[in-house]
Structure formats: structure tokens, C-alpha cells
Symmetry: C2
Subunit: 396 residues, 2 copies
């Protein structure tokens, strides 16, 4: 038994963690564009990165380290440091060395994480100048979460306090940026999670992998997978407390919340839709269908048009490549079943009801394939004019 409570403090809610955001002039109008997370105690690290073969320099830099502990992450927006080759990795090393040599604290295997435009070298001097503004004893998690935003319209963070039955207590705090490119296999999303739980690297990695499948890897904004997707989970063990089940549930809550916040803030998105697929041959096939639905342009535009076009849902199920039959399929909008195993239930009265559901900011579309017990739930948004506008003019 344990108790999970939402608290203030974002990434600084975990004991011993510091964070802040500063403006290094990467963004216009002195907006915050560089952040750090720092812990005096060194941390065990678990991580998940993009599956994109063109993974960015920060990921190369991380992977080249092998096994390590760290106590510092530097994050910048506006420049992804992707497609920059080994020079991009060297830029990271130079930036981190410059900061290490001037800062008062002892940085252990400092890390860097970047998001922004692909194919442009890091503005090293600006960034080094920016690090001089860092106060490693500052606790401004809100600034940090704002500094990592790109096309996000709001910053995203959460913190939980977990009380165990024996009175022990640990925390998990996190911040993330999403918007655009959010896809089942992650996307230009960065997520930094701090904890003072006394979890080993292996424990954290196992739980992180499990939870990622049903959170960050279950969301889609536009089906593209970026070069920079990163989730970093750092534990400084300061609480000396740990319980695997409690940790897993809390981490799921943190990542699920942030994943849905990302979808809700998808570029131009006005709706958050849950795709519940059941009755598939197996869980894998259910996942394929759920992601096909959340990725389908035709479904997304029908959502934007608030058009209960269940035919597009059926067509997308059929096009997804998994085992599916017209005669066993059922489709519902929230609790309203609009197609049931070959029966055309749709009529004017039902269309009115379905259209009312589609006007909601949040609803679910359920597909029961009627074959076996495979199930998966994915999350997506609509696609409207704003998406096109944002992405047609991204670099300008």
C-alpha cells in the first residue's frame, strides 16, 4: 500500500535537485531558451531515445559514454544539433567543458540535450555565454520547463510525492516539451524526470521501458519521428526510499500526464482523442490499429471537421494491415456504438448524437475487432489549418 499525491515543484520536487531557465538569445525577444537540471549527489540514469537512424549529436554524446553516473543536464532549444556529424558531438564537449571549468560546482559527466532546427551547427559562443547566467543553486522549475519549449504553447511539468506504508517517502518530478512531430515512436519530445527514490539503474530502466510503451510511444501528433527524442530519468537516491510497484505507478502517472499534455498541445490541435482498440488477434496488432487511427490524416481531418465519419475509421482499420473483418468489427464514439458487426446502425438521430460527442474537447473512439483479446490504447489529436500554418513556416 502506498499513497500518491500531486505536489508543486516540477523537476525540483525531488530532494536535492536544482533547475532553472535563462535567455541566451537563441530565441527572439529574450525568451528563455536554455535550461539546466543539477543535483549535488551523482545520479543513476535511465534513458530512452528516438529510433530515428539520424539520431542527433546529444544522443551520440550520451551513448559514447557507456555506463556512467551524472549530476547535470544542459538543455537548449532553437537548435537540434542534428545532422551535424562528429563536429556536433565535439561542439557539445566544448560547451560542457567551458561551463565545467568556470562553474563552482563539480559536474560529473555532464549531459546535453537539444531541440530545434536540424542541420545547423550549435551557436557555441551564445550557448557558452548563456551558461554563465546559470545559478546551480536556483530552483525555478517553471523557467526550466519554459526554456525547453519550441512550438509548444504551454510548458509541461508535474511532480508526485509517494508515501509508502512504512512512512518512507520519495518524489518524482518531470518536465517535457512536445508539439509537432509527436509520434508513436516518440518525436521531437524531450522529457526530463528527476527522482530521489533509491532505485538502481537497472530497476529504473526496466520500468521506464515498460511505461514508455503505453505513454510516450502511444501518442501521435503527425506520425513523424524526430532525430532528438529523449527521455532521461535521473535518481540521486536522496530519499533512501523505494518500492517497485509504487515507483512504477507513479512514473506511469507522470509520463501519462505529460504524454497527454503533449497531444493536447500538438501543433494546431483542438481535440484529444483516445483510441481504444480491443478484440484484436494480439496486443501487437491492436497497437498497429490504434496507431494507424491516431496517425491517419483522413481521421484527423474528420476530427477537426467534427464529422462523425465512422467509414474512415473502418477504412483505416482495414488499411492497417492487421487481421480484421467487416462482419466482426464494432465502432463506438464514447459509449455510442455506430457500427456493430456488419450492421449499419447510423441514422440521422445517431448522427446528431455522434456529432455532439465530436464537439467535445476530449472523447474516445473504440474499435472492437471481434477476433481475440488483443488490446491497446493510443492517443491522438485532430489536424487543422494551424498545423499546416505552423509547419509550412517553421523555419521563418
Amino acid at each position: 500500500m502506498y499513497k500518491i499525491t500531486e505536489i508543486e515543484g516540477g523537476v525540483c520536487a525531488s530532494e536535492g535537485f536544482y533547475a532553472d531557465g535563462v535567455s541566451a538569445g537563441l530565441k527572439k525577444n529574450n525568451a528563455l531558451d536554455m535550461a539546466f537540471i543539477y543535483s549535488q549527489n551523482e545520479c543513476e540514469v535511465a534513458s530512452t531515445f528516438t529510433t530515428n537512424k539520424m539520431f542527433a549529436a546529444p544522443i551520440k554524446h550520451f551513448r559514447a559514454k557507456g555506463e556512467f553516473k551524472t549530476n547535470f543536464v544542459l538543455i537548449n532549444s532553437k537548435n537540434a544539433n542534428a545532422m551535424t556529424g562528429q563536429a556536433g558531438v565535439k561542439d557539445i564537449e566544448e560547451v560542457l567543458e567551458a561551463f565545467s571549468s568556470t562553474c563552482q560546482e563539480n559536474l560529473i559527466n555532464p549531459l546535453m540535450s537539444s531541440t530545434g532546427v536540424i542541420g545547423v551547427r550549435l551557436p557555441k559562443q551564445k550557448i557558452i555565454k548563456g551558461t554563465k547566467l546559470f545559478d546551480l543553486r536556483a530552483r525555478n522549475p517553471k523557467n526550466a520547463s519554459e526554456a525547453i519549449m519550441t512550438t509548444d504553447t504551454f510548458s509541461k511539468s508535474i511532480a508526485l510525492r509517494v508515501e509508502l506504508q512504512n512512512g518512507d517517502c520519495f518524489h518524482i518530478g518531470a518536465m517535457a516539451k512536445g508539439a509537432g512531430m509527436i509520434n508513436p515512436a516518440m518525436a521531437t519530445m524531450l522529457c526530463f524526470i528527476t527522482t530521489d527514490a533509491d532505485a538502481s539503474k537497472a530497476q529504473m530502466q526496466e520500468i521506464l521501458d515498460e511505461v514508455t510503451v503505453h505513454t510516450f510511444n502511444a501518442i501521435s501528433v503527425d506520425g513523424d519521428t524526430s532525430t532528438n527524442d529523449t527521455v532521461i530519468l535521473m535518481s540521486n537516491a536522496k530519499s533512501k526510499a523505494f518500492d517497485k510497484e509504487a515507483f512504477k505507478e507513479a512514473l506511469f502517472k507522470v509520463m501519462h500526464f505529460l504524454a497527454l499534455e503533449m497531444v493536447r498541445d500538438g501543433e494546431g490541435a483542438t481535440k484529444l482523442v483516445t483510441y481504444k482498440v480491443t478484440g484484436a488477434k494480439d496486443n501487437k496488432e491492436a497497437e498497429v490499429v490504434a496507431k494507424a487511427l491516431s496517425d491517419s490524416l483522413l481521421v484527423k481531418t474528420a476530427l477537426f471537421g467534427e464529422d462523425p465519419n465512422w467509414g474512415r475509421i473502418a477504412s483505416t482499420v482495414g488499411a492497417s494491415g492487421v487481421e480484421a473483418y467487416e462482419e466482426t468489427l464494432s465502432i463506438s464514439f464514447n459509449e455510442l456504438c455506430v457500427y456493430h458487426k456488419g450492421e449499419l446502425l447510423f441514422n440521422e438521430a445517431m448522427e446528431e448524437k455522434a456529432a455532439a460527442i465530436m464537439k467535445l474537447a476530449r472523447f474516445s473512439i473504440s474499435c472492437d475487432l471481434g477476433i481475440s483479446n488483443g488490446s491497446f490504447t493510443a492517443y491522438g489529436c485532430d489536424l487543422g489549418y494551424e498545423y499546416v500554418k505552423i509547419n509550412a513556416d517553421y523555419r521563418t
Copy 2:
């Protein structure tokens, strides 16, 4: 040796074929909405259909026939007769029987093909009434090609005359409808091809399958695959002439032309882009990359914004799942190489040149993966506000 010449006449250019379009009141404002193709002589038939598991009633009806010859196809727009179960097949039988029993000509295994909204039963009485307007001795191929349009903004047809060295001559004529949902694995596209070449069913099917891969299956408008995709190729052998190579080349020309017409007329499309992928591990991996590029929302919106954002091209290559390396990849817009094997070539002058290329109505994006000899060429379009508008309001 042979000579291929473009001629007038669409599906009626092949000797012995008749076609027309009429208005049955399915579309508003007395627009043409039903068409037929008829040949006095019975025809061998080759065909390709959607891979969508929810394939529509006309495809079920076709497949239930097994081996057969035919001389008549009825086509309607506005209603796809999809997700209508066995009732949908029975509707087709009733419509075709009603017309057979009243028409003066001898219909042999008549076929039906439909496009439009999914999940609504065929308006049988309207369609039967519409067939009464058919004059099977009419030759109005333009009317026929207009009647099958849905969101198409122009009708699509072509005809070729093929002269063989021995003086023999045969024809291939075709009409198609595309727009929206056009995807690598075909989409709500219908294509009807007539020929008077003396080709056997087996010869036609083999050639049709080969040509489809590099034409209709190499185009993408929005990555969705419809319930109704159909290509039907009918030969009445009236010319008594045939040459395999000449037939294949002519069929390729016909289908390639129509495929590009479909992309050009993709919903809201303003640009036709050729994606040339070379240097992949094999042809299959090159195909995966080419289609990933033509399907990518981020690439499509960058095209619409005329933004030479080569980083998104690189990211999409990396996300496609095939073998690819930053250090061996090269990317060009037309002949302008913007990224070469790890070298960042892009600067302001080059950006200006690249932006000028992107303003063209037609250009190519080439990706050399630099690994081996696999190659594939796909075709796509941009995605702009009009696409969203058309698809948000499709049913209204």
C-alpha cells in the same frame, strides 16, 4: 520496333468500346454521376484491387465470379457501397439484373464499380433509373470520365495508338479518378483501361501487376488506402494485334500519366514532387524511403510552405526504418545538392537557390543513401489548407 502515339478518344479509342456518363441525381445540380463502359465482344479482364481488409461490395462481387469474361462495367460516384456487407453485394446484383433485363444489348457478366461515402447502402432506385438513360452505342468518353469524379477538380483520361513493325496496330484507352486518399497501396482511385490488343488474361495480369508497382502504387496524396481502389483492364482483342514489349510500354505510359494526374489533382495539392531514392540496401528499402518521404506530413507541409527544409528530409529518411547513415546520405533538390555525406553545404546563397526550386510546380527531391544499388521513384504532393478544408467537410 514499334511506335506509340497519343490520340483522342479515352476509353473509346480502343476499337469496339462504347462509354458515356449520365446524371442519376446522386450528385447535386444534375452533375454526371454514373458511367458505363461497353463492348459488343466479350473481354478478357485483368485487375488490381485495394489491399484494404474492408474492401467494398463491388470488389466482393467481382471476386465471387472467379474466372470470367465480361463486356460491361457500370460505375457510380457519391456512394462507395463499402461496409455494407452481403446486402451491398445483393444491391449490385439487383441493379445489374434490372438493367440487363431492360437493355437491348447482351450483357455478359456485367460488373459494377463505386466511389464515394462509406457505410451507406446504394440508392438502388436512383441508380436503376439512371441506367435507363444509358445508350450503349454512345461514345462520350469525356462524359464517362467526368461522371466518376468525386473531389477531383478535372477529369483524367488518355489514349494511345501502338503501331507494330509489321503494320499491325492496337490501342489502349483509359480513364481514372483520384484525389484524396491516394496512397502507395492505391486509394480511392478507380481506373478503367480498355484495349483492342489481342492479349490473353494471363499476359495482361502479369504486365498490369508489374506496371502498377511503379505507377499507381508509387503515388501518395495522404497515405491512406481506401476500401474501393480498383484498376480494371479489359481487352476485346478486336485488333488481333499484340506485342508484349510494346503493350507493356504503352500500358506504363497510360498508367504513369494517370498516376501523376492524380497526384497533381490531390486534394488541395499545388506541387508535384518526384522522390528519387538511390543507393539503398535494395530496391525494397528504397521504396520504403521514397514512400516515407511522399507520405510525411512534415515534408508535405514544408513543400507547401516552399521551405527547403532538408533537415526534415533527412529526419524522414532516418525514421523510415531502413538502413541509413548520416555519413553516407546525400540530398538534392533537382540538381542542387544541399547535403553531402556529412557535409553541411547549406548557406544563404544555396537556400535562395533551393527556395527558387521549391516554388516550381514540379521538381524532384533526390536522396542517395550511399550504401548499395537499391532504387525507387515515388511521387507525391504538398499538403495545404485546402486539403484540411476538403477533408474536414467531406460529407457535407
